[in-house]
Structures are given as structure tokens and as C-alpha cells.
């Protein structure tokens, strides 16, 4: 469960202060599917970075599954990300010259536990790529690459998957297939899914839409 309370994020741009987030409070229950929308520059990417523990808020409280993460050090945040959060990016961010199964196993390199390859293989099977284990990103289609990225997000069995415009680089047919995959994972695994998108059609898949404007929830 995600609980944030009066979060602000202030960037210093030379002389001027930019308040990217200006007092955002939000609660996301386990197993919810939430879309965060807003025009560019609204602060939705900043909110996503903070929800994903990639960045710390300037002020405010953030409790993730009851643990206060707002004041954690970088290495503690890295451990939290590794255990609890999976990321899916618009540009897939796969390592080139590295096979699909090794890409999926990447988060396991930074976690404890054995059977890395087995777990990565199982995650690839869950996204329907059992027959592409040894393929490198440049040997896969865009949709397949995004599936590998989703498998990588799932491999540590996180409670939350954060996706930043996951269909932004895909054609609409492939985009629909990816959305169907998210829907299936959400239903069968009870994972909390948080989407950041500016596309109302994608946002329509979500149970709840949070609209951000000028650093505040509109």
C-alpha cells in the first residue's frame, strides 16, 4: 500500500526555484490499477520518480507498505526498489548484446537468492516469450522487447509495477497486446499497477485516474 502525505519536490534551476510537486497527498491500495495523467511539465514524471523510490521528496511523508521511505539513504532505496517495485519504460531500456534471459535476470544480480536463470525463464514464460530466451534485443520486435522488459519488472515478484508510457514506442495493435498483458498480470497476480501516460485511451484501462496539473492533483 502506498501512502503519501503532502509531498513537495523543489528543483533549483539556477536562480529560480521550480516546484515540480506542490503538496500532493495520495493513497493507493494493494492490487489497484491507477493511471497518472497530465500534460507535460505537470509533475507527473516527478511523482512517478518519487513513487518508484528513484528520487526523494523535498518534504512530506511517504510510506510504502507501512515503511517510511522518504528519508532513506540511496543504498536503502536501491534495496526497496529491488524488492518491491518493477519498472517498465517507454524505451524498454534493455541491455544490448545481452540475451533476453540475462536481461530479465538483471535485477536478481542485485538481490539475494539462487536459481536466477530458472526464475528469469519463468518470468519470460509468463509474458509468452519461452521461445526467445537466447535472443538479443536487436533480434526481437518492439512488442517482444517490451515483453522482456515486463518480465524483468516481474522477476523479483514485486508488489508494484510502475510503467512510464509503456506503449509510447509501439504501434497501436502491439500497444493493445501489451495492455492486455498488463490486464492479465493485474488480474491473476494481484499486482498494483501504476501507469504514467498522457494518452486518455490508455488511462481508460485503469480503475482510477489521477490527474496532475501544476504539481497538484486536479
Amino acid at each position: 500500500m502506498i501512502e503519501i502525505e503532502n509531498i513537495t519536490k523543489v528543483y533549483q534551476m539556477g536562480e529560480t526555484e521550480v516546484r515540480a510537486l506542490d503538496g500532493v497527498s495520495l493513497k493507493i491500495e494493494d492490487g489497484e490499477w491507477v493511471a497518472i495523467t497530465g500534460p507535460s511539465g505537470s509533475g507527473k514524471s516527478t511523482l512517478m520518480a518519487i513513487l518508484g523510490c528513484l528520487d526523494s521528496p523535498t518534504s512530506g511523508a511517504y510510506k510504502l507498505d507501512g515503511i517510511d521511505v522518504a528519508k532513506m539513504r540511496d543504498d536503502q532505496l536501491a534495496a526497496v526498489r529491488n524488492k518491491k517495485i518493477g519498472f517498465v519504460f517507454q524505451q524498454f531500456n534493455l541491455l544490448s548484446r545481452t540475451s533476453a534471459v540475462e536481461n530479465v535476470a538483471l535485477p536478481l544480480l542485485y538481490a539475494s537468492g539462487n536459481h536466477q536463470r530458472d526464475r528469469a525463464t519463468a518470468a519470460l514464460a509468463a509474458v509468452g516469450l519461452s521461445d526467445r530466451l537466447g535472443h538479443r534485443p536487436n533480434e526481437l520486435s518492439g512488442g517482444q522487447q517490451q515483453r522482456v522488459a515486463i518480465a524483468r519488472a516481474l522477476v523479483t515478484e514485486p508488489s508494484i509495477v510502475l510503467a512510464d508510457e509503456p506503449t509510447g514506442n509501439l504501434d497501436s495493435k502491439t500497444g493493445k497486446e501489451i495492455m492486455a498483458l498488463f490486464d492479465e498480470l493485474h488480474r491473476t497476480r494481484g499486482i498494483t499497477v501504476i501507469f504514467v501516460t498522457h494518452d486518455p485511451a490508455i488511462a481508460a484501462n485503469a480503475q482510477r485516474v489521477i490527474h496532475i496539473q501544476d504539481g497538484m492533483i486536479a
Binding site: 548484446r97 544480480l109 542485485y110
Partner: protein, 412 residues
């Protein structure tokens, strides 16, 4: 399972293979650096070994007397105090001093040797029979200079083994006559082969004649009415009497040269160990000097590694961002990039050691000079290249490790 060493090496190799030419050129800097350290140290060590070998050849109990003070490495006569020649008359006074077993005065000059149509240039040394006492077992066959030869100023010569080859085409020269400085000499003996003295200088062409003959006919070593000698070699009775003999020689020569109390010697008396330590210190200075020059190229290679690693960190900012997003800690990224630099410099180091050793072996085989690849120099070069990897890898790796995940992910 935490990121371990073998996974780090695997990922480092993959990253390095991604830019094969770039990695190879970067490694070349280390290869050249390490290779030149190994090769140049082998030249230095080889010189040291050959000098040490050459000097120990002379004999352990030998004390050498020169004219002029050479205590502070000043050339004789140049600010090193007064210089007085050592005369042949003085030599007679040194015989029978405490601890002294044999005294061998020597007069050296460079002469042209002729036999029929062949000729060669050689160091001709005028000696007394005691030369054979100071340097035992050097005669191959025939006989050495005798006391009668010295008394009679006989024109007899004992030739070096190289002369046999150069003048006589390997045939036994004993009984034949050669011309030295245009004067006929009869060959009475041949010296044993002693091997190259290093730096292209051969002791095997040195040729011996009676000292009186040399002073009378071969050299203009008359100073005033006195006949001067080049050096005097003195053999101590045994190793325990070296110090006694040194003191006795100094005292006697100071008396003969009328040197007052507090005045510096105008001669130098050196024991074998003095000469050995002086020569060894010169050779080890040479080794350090050569090593330092080679070390500079290794540092330059290291800077090349650092430069490429900085480029690599910038190019892979998004990869670093992704790794951090999925849970890499600061030190995971640090070790990853440090491993990459270490792989570069250690692989480069090993190749460099092989190439350096090969060059040194080739130089040795070509006979230009003696080289010795010591295990210490290999350990030094290897350790140095690893240290360079860590030193020059730390800054780029630290820069990578310090990247903020969200900024790294958004890097275009």
C-alpha cells in the same frame, strides 16, 4: 545472490568486446608500458649481473691501487686532490708488506698486433710473473711470463684466446712470432677464454708481455726519470688479511709520496668489495633510471585507460540508471566499472610481460648485450599495471556510481 566477481568479469568482458578496436587500442597503451618496463629492467639487471660477474672473475682477495684520488667519483686530477704517478720503483717497496702475498704492477696500452697479413688491435698489458699469482688458472697452454723474461726484457708474449682466432685462424700460435708496434715478439703461451665482459668489451683479446719490455718498447710511460705503472694489483694472503694489507699499502704509499698528516691521498687503494659495491650501485642506478623512464609510458597508458573509461561511463549513463533502478547499489556500479578497468590493465599487463620478455630474450640472443628478466621485474610490472587499473579506474567508476538513477535514466 549478490553481484559476484565472476559475473562482474563476464559483464566487463562483454562491455569491452562491444568496442573491440577501442579496447584494443586502450590496452595497447598498457602493453607498451608494461612491455618497456620488463624489457628495460632486464637490460639493467643484465648489466648488473655481467658487471658483478666480471669483477668477481678478477678474484676475491685482490686489492687494486690507482694513482689519483677517486674516492668521490671525481676523475683523477680533476678537483680530487693531487695526482702522483705510481712508479715501478715504489712497486718494489710494496712487496713483503704485512698481509700482502703478491704484487702485480701493470702497464697498459692499446697496440696493433700483426701476424703475416692479419692484424688486430688489442689491449697489451705489461706484467710480472706475480700476475699469475693474483689471477690464477688463466693460462690455457704454453707458459706465462717468467722472472727471467722481466729481467732480460725478453720479447715474449702470452696472447688472449680471441687473438688466436683473429690472427692465427684458430691454429696454435705458441712458438710463432707476431709484431706488436712493429717489434717482433715470440708467442710463449695462450690465455683461457673468459667470455664477454659486457657492453661489447672483450677481455679475451688482452695480451701480456713482460713489464720491463712494455716500459722499454711499447709505451711512453716515462715520467721524468721514473717509469710509472698504470695500476698495481695486490693479492692479500687470505680474506682475513685484506684489511691489514689495505692499511699497510696506504701507510707505505703515504710515506713514499710524502703526504703529511691531514692531507688527502694522491692514490686510491680499493679492495674487490669496494669496486664491486661501487659498480653495483652504478648498475642499480641505471636499472632504476631505465625503469623510471619505462614507468612514465605506463602512466601515460593508464591515463589512456582513464580517458576511455570516462567516455564509457558517459555512453552508458542509461545503463547505469537502469541498473540502479532495478536495485544496484553504489558499490555494485563501482565494482562493475573497476572490474572493467582491471580486466583491461591486467590483460594488457600480461601481454606486455610476454612481449617485454620476448624482446629481452631477442636482444640477449642477438649478442648486443646481456639481459636478465628477473621474477621481481615481472612481479613489479604486473603489480604496477594492476595498481594503474585501480588508480585510473577509480575516478570514472566513482563517477558512474555517484549518478542519480532518475537523471541517468533520462539522459539522452
Amino acid at each position: 545472490m549478490r553481484l559476484n566477481f565472476s559475473q562482474n568479469v563476464k559483464s566487463a568482458l562483454r562491455a569491452l568486446m562491444a568496442n573491440k578496436l577501442r579496447s584494443a587500442l586502450t590496452m595497447l597503451g598498457i602493453v607498451i608500458g608494461v612491455g618497456s618496463v620488463v624489457a628495460l629492467l632486464s637490460v639493467g639487471t643484465g648489466a648488473q649481473a655481467s658487471i658483478t660477474g666480471q669483477i668477481s672473475n678478477i678474484g676475491a682477495n685482490v686489492i687494486t691501487v690507482y694513482s689519483g684520488s677517486r674516492n668521490n667519483f671525481t676523475p683523477s686530477g680533476a678537483g680530487g686532490g693531487a695526482t702522483a704517478p705510481l712508479t715501478y720503483e715504489e712497486v718494489q717497496e710494496l712487496k713483503g708488506l704485512a698481509g700482502v702475498a703478491a704484487v702485480s704492477p701493470q702497464v697498459q696500452s692499446r697496440q696493433t698486433l700483426k701476424y703475416q697479413s692479419s692484424q688486430t688491435s688489442a689491449q697489451v698489458v705489461g706484467v710480472e710473473p706475480d700476475y699469475a699469482t693474483v689471477h690464477p688458472d688463466q693460462l690455457d697452454h704454453g707458459r706465462f711470463i717468467s722472472a727471467a723474461d722481466v729481467t732480460n726484457k725478453s720479447r715474449v708474449v702470452v696472447v688472449g684466446s680471441q687473438i688466436v682466432t683473429d690472427l692465427f685462424g684458430g691454429l696454435d700460435p705458441v712458438g710463432k712470432s707476431i709484431k706488436i708496434n712493429g717489434i717482433l715478439f715470440q708467442v710463449i703461451g695462450v690465455m683461457k677464454e673468459q667470455g664477454s665482459g659486457g657492453f661489447g668489451f672483450s677481455r679475451d683479446s688482452t695480451t701480456y708481455v713482460p713489464i720491463t719490455t712494455a716500459m722499454a718498447r711499447l709505451s711512453n710511460t716515462r715520467v721524468g726519470n721514473q717509469k710509472s705503472v698504470s695500476t698495481i694489483e695486490v693479492s692479500a694472503s687470505n680474506s682475513d688479511s685484506i684489511d691489514t694489507a689495505l692499511t699497510a699499502l696506504k701507510t707505505k704509499l703515504r710515506t713514499l709520496h710524502k703526504i703529511g698528516v691531514g692531507e688527502t691521498d694522491d692514490f686510491t687503494v680499493q679492495s674487490q668489495s669496494d669496486i664491486l659495491s661501487a659498480a653495483t650501485s652504478v648498475a642499480s642506478t641505471l636499472t632504476v633510471f631505465l625503469g623510471a623512464i619505462a614507468g612514465i609510458s605506463l602512466v601515460v597508458g593508464g591515463i589512456g585507460v582513464m580517458n576511455i573509461m570516462l567516455v564509457s561511463v558517459t555512453e552508458r549513463t542509461r545503463e547505469i540508471g537502469l541498473r540502479k533502478a532495478v536495485g544496484a547499489r553504489r558499490r555494485d556500479i563501482l565494482y562493475q566499472f573497476l572490474t572493467e578497468t582491471l580486466v583491461l590493465s591486467i590483460v594488457g599487463g600480461v601481454i606486455g610481460i610476454v612481449i617485454g620478455a620476448a624482446i629481452s630474450t631477442a636482444v640477449s640472443a642477438s649478442g648486443v648485450m646481456t639481459t636478465v628478466v628477473s621474477p621481481e621485474s615481472i612481479a613489479l610490472a604486473f603489480g604496477f599495471s594492476a595498481a594503474i587499473g585501480i588508480f585510473f579506474g577509480l575516478y570514472p567508476a566513482n563517477r558512474a556510481a555517484g549518478l542519480k538513477p532518475i537523471e541517468a535514466l533520462r539522459y539522452e
